[in-house]
Symmetry: C2
Subunit: 898 residues, 2 copies
């Protein structure tokens, strides 16, 4: 088996085998660029080593042959006493894992060849410094000795010689240091530093292999979801030196600006230095502009190469180069990382330069990048000091006065103040305050807590679970370490990294949101040219995605205002209009009467009271969405959610008794709450069960919908409605609700003399619904997958309870790679979705299929839904553009595969 | 299509088409018995009528032809003025639905034929009484008139004439009554009573068809799980009369005693009477013995027929007969209903008489019958008056002093008192009291409440959800209407019907339980002959079931005592040994320390404390089950279940503050409970999650198991253990726990120099586990289906919450036919089980499969598990004999099908 590829044998498509670095070095070699010669040991060799604990049998011979070829190309010999070849031994996996694995430089130096290197470069100091670096790196990396032993020794030497800077050490000082280093090795590794250059090389290669499996590398892969069994390739190349004197140097350059996406080359150059000096940022670097003035020839050579590479790779390139005694060497290139804004701008630049197609451009941007662009952010040029860090729950940057009460938040916002709502956690009652606030900060709960989910839904900045903050609601202040935040104090929160600051930090607002709200033409008049290029790029790519995607995109919206935003952001309908928020606020009293009703008469009275309210709710939403579909979900949550907390009432009752008082209303309320109390409300009396048991409730809602539609129709509008029944587990439940609803609709139709375009379907959010989909589909016009609940029941954990407790240990142990509430669990929950689709379509080929859980706005999940044959996804209004973009990308990706 | 079968055309195997009654009448006709001639209209005709709302086109003609044949056989003509044929029109479905559908007798009488009937029978009174009955029945049944109008009129006539008894009315009185009845019909049905006999017949047939769909018939079918679409057949037969005078009569007889199963004929006879007089029990009947003395010829004819029928049907027969003027007519026969005891005894009698095989005998008894025999019952000869009725939660009869506190129950039982534990509801803390009590009575909760489930598991009598009872725990009394039960008052509860009595009712204990405990030989010495025959029959049938069954039967047992009973009852191992009960009682303090531990050191200290306790727990159980497998489930419930209730603590804390006191322990406990509080504990931090997060907990348990086994082995015993990991949802969870456990076991093995036969597997109780079974099976030696939890997550409802709230309305609406916690939901939960089996066995063909949920002891579910290819079921010790019997029957039934 061939385990070694010389650089001139590989190419950029062999990343699996040669790693990203090796493949790109090969590609550049074949392009005729001046790449130091070398060879790559394949990932296959690494994998065999990791599996069997020893290198493949003939690897040693293959190295011998490859080294001989390298020596021929370099016209030097490894370990030669006169003019020694030095090599670098570098890791390089298929996916970039910057800084995670090992590199050993200057391999080939020993007590003899160091003399030769000094002579041939006429620079003893340089030679001994190179040797010193090799011994240090080898000791630490290959022999696993604590690196501090070397750095301490280095510092001690400097102190003894009373010098400040490394370069003040002379050749003799460095020679003595090498001696010390060798003693450290002998003492700690119980072995001598190997003098044989080939032994140095072999040991270095193996240590790079091993570095694939260090803890930090494994953790990185887990986080970045890189498979564990790929292994790393090892590149062995001739060393070149940028620190040989004034005609040497080293630099990094990009073919366009990776931070903004602006055209024109961009980079840093450092004279008489090695690569690590640029990266560490110790010395002041020159811009490429400045370099062009002192090294015009090198610069113009570099420009030619940059252009060549960009055209060749058809993408932004990130290039490392070194100048050794006036000769330009290219050490590495790769497709350059870039910011979200740069991604959009550069993609469209390449389209306009006719290097790539619109499809390719679309595949080069992502929903995650678009999300970033949609949130405001803190001015990056300012130095800031957070007082604590919570969970980055909903991105963006928000500044305002701290308030600890939702009512206060609403009042202050009313009079024009910017506020940040600070709570232990939030619940549906805080909705008013959350809408009014610029941002939300909680001390408890995770990424899927109420605060986080609602905030993301609204596109509002939130930091959750900032556990250092101790919120005292009664006295309206919060403590965080030595800091105290009083009501009215200004604070700033960063939802992109979870940081919390005291005082005001400057915020930059999102031009993308302005564009979505105002349209391209109008927004462009008020923007800078760079910003115009960005919004134009986003606009073109979104429209292209729309033209490609097969998934329809709807929004989850409960209010007319949400509906309006959804429509502006490109939603093609409302896929989930919850009705529970309509029962809050003042109407809570009506619900309380409904729950406490002791006779049919009392119950019906509260229902009658609700009818005109519900009808006007629906009418306003249908008005906003005229001509587009609105999917209304009948009431889902358990009724006791509309009542006070049981423990609170018990405390009140106990205190009342203690004080010798009597409160009959309290007793009655307590009894009702106790009766309705559930040990596991998530698994209790909710969804369709509520509709089947509380006589008249669903009928009221259906009637309100039908009457609202009839009025709209009479006014010349075109309402289209889907009635969605939640939490169905068996065919009969839906069948009963459906026939009652059909009867009510028919009554309204006949009374108002209209034909109402209403379909009736169900959420699929219980495993049993998915498994028995073939029967359910016979009475459903559509299925809408409620992926949140389906995830809870399939896994048997509730979002409210488990996230804080065991998600982070589960992520650490690798049981989960990501929260299944964030990205759909394809293996489990996804399997049920596929079963439901297959069985449902078997008995009802016209069945329309949607998703209305949180996952409807998650990029990876959208790709999964596309593959399943789902018809539409529905997500929060703010996520609609993301969903449009990713749905387009999903369609392109499937086309590529098929 | 042939819609009508003359009795001589049918046979007993045509029950689908002719109904049970029609098929048996045909069978007897062909046997040459004297059955009044007639014909059957098929269920097909009924179904078509019910579907289309009208009878099949050619049914009328077929009736005409069948009627002509009947008239020929009877040698009379319907409606004839001289010697009229009268017919009965009776319902008769495939499955017996006694009293649920309609019957019309004496069809064919009108104002003219009644005169002829009077003449030919020489009995005007008889003729007018028959006509009176026809008009009444027709009015009520066919014309849907309130039956009270007729009976009121009848009573009025009797009062006017000042007579006491019906038979005192003369022919003229009855004639006048007919006139009045006809007026009632005219007034209420706006139509005349039809004089045309054929019209009477046709209308009667249709009204029988319609009676298939009355509310009470539908409810009955729902309860008995009879399909709704079978329809009823209609038998039309010549009327014969037992009330023609002293040489006439009517009776019912059984070929053996259906109450006890004793040999010898058994029945009732009534001279000069009609069938309904026997059934209504108004007049004193004669025994068959007495009848043989006055009608020796008829009796001996009857004996011949009874013998013939029993041999022919190879089963106990229930026969209706009538003697008309000295001629014996057989009106109906069917396989007789019998008590549980009779079922076992008669089945074995037939085997011994070589009429049936052991296999057939086994198919004629059921687990449900065996359960009945295992519970004690109240003396049936005593008249009793219950004060209220709750849910029959766990059968049996219990008498004892009412106590309202588990500790008191345990104390009183200790000193030899029989007690009934009375609680609002029970929780795991009541376990001690429940074990000590003779019975359990709760005012809340349903058939699957904690009290009910635990009581059934222990085979202990329980009545739950007796809502009329208002339990006052603080003051130790309960009120129920006008009654008050104080602590120490004697009460009796009947777990078979839910009745509650004040005072002592005599109890008969179960001989079957004595037999299981003592063995056949020993128990037989102390029993009466009938009882010996019964226990022998049960013994032989259980052993036969053991020889046939493919399912292994294990028991769920947590204590050495449970294990001992399980073994006696025939368990082949413990399929579920829960470890949570081992953490209660005094050890609760240790758990509290574990939960409150703030440092690793504190946590480890409490674990160290638990090790010897756990080890001795296991040792005792292994000892009882030596040489049989014990499946130990690692700790499953959330830790906060071992702590006090949050609301209670909050109340305490509020009161402490109110009183100006300080209680630091309380504050600390409250904080911990608050931290661990879960909104949905069923979906929270429990099962394997607990094991993965609380470092050392599972390791402690595994170590205790291994050490206990090592000690047993050293003592020459043969422990076999399976370690079962609960609530696994993904492969990685099990994989991590498995490798840690394997390491600990290996350590103990090496330290103690033994080889420990331990396998490691998982419960499958989450949908995701079933769906991803192919991966999980690679690290599992066995799967044990936890069908309780699997039902909860598949349906998305929790047993604790939903039963009371919506199971009964769901049963009423027909959404559920039975609680899915009682009998496995084959369509949903069962589908997941099948998916898991198929996928699991694909990657691990040696995978051993069991069930350890409540369903393991449910007859219908056992048949399902057998069909799925499950290897064993595990159920409460008390259910083990039932499971053995039903597993045997399941094997036979599959063999019959294949």
């Amino acid at each position: 088996m061939k385990f070694i590829y010389s650089f001139d044998e590989g190419n950029k498509d062999l990343k699996d085998l040669l790693g990203g670095k090796g493949a790109n070095l090969s590609e550049m070699t074949n392009l005729g660029l001046s790449v130091p010669p070398g060879f790559v040991i394949t990932t296959e060799a690494c994998k065999e080593f990791l599996e069997k604990g020893q290198t493949p049998l003939d690897l040693e011979l293959q190295i011998t042959l490859a080294l001989r070829k390298l020596e021929d190309q370099a016209e030097k010999v490894l370990g030669d006493f006169e003019n020694p070849l030095l090599v670098s031994v570098r890791s390089g996996a298929k996916f970039s894992m910057p800084g995670m694995m090992e590199t050993i430089l200057n391999v080939g130096l020993n007590d003899n060849s160091v003399i030769g290197l000094g002579k041939v470069t006429n620079n003893d100091r340089f030679a001994w410094d190179a040797y010193r670096r090799l011994v240090q790196m080898f000791g630490k990396t290959v022999l696993d000795i604590d690196g501090e032993l070397f750095t301490d020794e280095f510092e001690k030497t400097k102190q003894k010689l009373k010098v400040e800077e490394d370069f003040q050490l002379e050749a003799e000082d460095l020679e003595r240091l090498v001696q010390k280093y060798k003693e450290i090795i002998k003492e700690n590794a119980k072995t001598e530093f190997p003098q044989h250059p080939r032994m140095q090389l072999d040991m270095s290669i193996i240590s790079v292999f091993k570095s694939w499996n260090t803890e930090r590398a494994k953790m990185y892969r887990r986080r970045e979801r890189i498979p564990n069994d790929l292994g790393t390739a090892v590149s062995v190349g001739m060393m070149v030196f940028g620190n040989m004197g004034e005609t040497s140097g080293t630099g990094v350059c990009f073919t366009r600006d990776p931070a903004t996406g602006s055209k024109g080359v961009y980079g840093d150059y450092l004279k008489n230095a090695q690569g690590e000096d640029v990266v560490s940022g110790i010395r002041n670097t020159l811009t490429l502009q400045q370099m062009s003035e002192i090294e015009p020839k090198i610069f113009s050579d570099l420009l030619v190469i940059m252009h060549k590479l960009e055209i060749h790779y058809r993408d932004l390139c990130d290039i490392e180069f070194t100048v050794e005694n006036g000769k330009l060497w290219i050490l590495q290139t790769r497709v350059g990382k870039r910011t979200a804004a740069a991604a959009f701008r550069i993609a469209m630049q390449f389209v306009d330069e006719q290097l790539i197609t619109m499809d390719e451009a679309l595949l080069r941007v992502s929903g995650a990048q678009l999300v970033q662009l949609m949130f405001p952010q803190f001015d990056r040029s300012v130095q800031k000091m957070p007082i604590t860090k919570g969970i980055a729950a909903s991105p963006g940057a928000a500044v305002g006065k701290a308030v600890f009460d939702s009512k206060v938040a609403a009042d202050w916002a009313q009079r024009g103040e910017q506020v940040i709502l600070v709570r232990r956690e939030t619940n549906p009652d805080d909705l008013g305050g959350m809408i009014a606030a610029a941002g939300i900060l909680t001390s408890r709960g995770g990424k899927t807590s109420h605060a986080a989910v609602v905030a993301r839904g609204m596109g509002k900045t939130a930091v959750c679970g900032a556990e250092d903050i101790d919120v005292n609601l009664d006295n309206k202040f919060a403590k965080c370490g030595i800091h105290t935040i009083k009501e009215g104090d200004i604070i700033s929160i960063d939802g992109s990294n979870g940081e919390v600051y005291i005082g005001e930090i400057k915020v930059e607002s999102s031009v993308i949101v302005k564009y979505l709200e105002q349209g391209l033409e109008q927004v462009s008049t008020s923007l800078k040219p760079d910003e115009v290029e960005l919004v134009t790029a986003v606009d073109r790519l979104l429209k292209h995605a729309d033209s490609r995607r097969q998934l329809e995109v709807r929004a989850n919206a409960d209010t007319p205002n949400d509906a309006k935003i959804a429509r502006k952001f490109g939603a093609q309908g409302i896929g989930l209009c919850r009705t529970e928020h309509m029962f809050l606020g003042e109407r809570r009293l009506v619900i309380e009467r409904l729950v406490l009703a002791e006779t049919d008469l009392e119950r019906e009275a509260s229902l009658v009271e609700l009818l005109p309210l519900q009808q006007s709710d629906f009418q306003k939403i249908f008005d906003e969405m005229d001509d587009l579909t609105v999917t209304v979900r009948l009431l889902d949550p358990p009724l006791h959610e509309f009542l006070p907390d049981l423990a609170d009432l018990k405390v009140k009752a106990a205190l009342t008794q203690e004080r010798g008082q009597v409160n009959l209303d309290l007793s009655k309320l307590l009894a009702a709450v106790q009766r309705l109390h559930e040990t596991n409300p998530m698994l209790g009396m909710r969804g369709v069960r509520l509709g089947l048991i509380i006589r008249g409730l669903y009928n009221l809602q259906v009637k309100a919908i039908a009457e609202a539609m009839a009025l709209q129709t009479a006014a010349g509008k075109k309402p289209k409605v889907e009635i969605m029944v939640p939490l169905v587990g068996s065919y009969m439940e839906l069948s009963i609700i459906r026939s009652e609803a059909e009867q009510i609709i028919a009554e309204v139709e006949s009374k108002q003399q209209v034909k109402l375009p209403i379909t009736i379907g169900t959420m699929i959010e219980l495993p049993r619904a998915a498994l028995t989909a073939s029967r359910i589909a016979t009475v459903a016009d559509f299925f809408s997958f409620g992926t949140n609940d389906l995830t809870q029941t399939t896994w048997g954990f509730s979002r409210d309870d488990v996230e804080a407790e065991f998600f982070s240990p589960y992520l650490e142990k690798g049981i989960l790679t990501i929260s299944p509430f964030e990205t759909i669990d394809a293996e489990g929950v996804g399997e049920l979705i596929q079963i439901a689709i297959e069985r449902g379509r078997k008995t009802n080929p016209d069945l329309h299929l949607g998703v209305c859980g949180e996952h409807g706005g998650d990029p990876e999940s959208i790709h999964f839904f596309h593959k399943c044959g789902i018809d539409y996804v529905s997500c929060s209004p703010f996520r609609v553009p993301v969903a449009r973009l990713e749905a387009g990308r999903a369609a392109l990706e499937s086309a590529l595969i098929n």
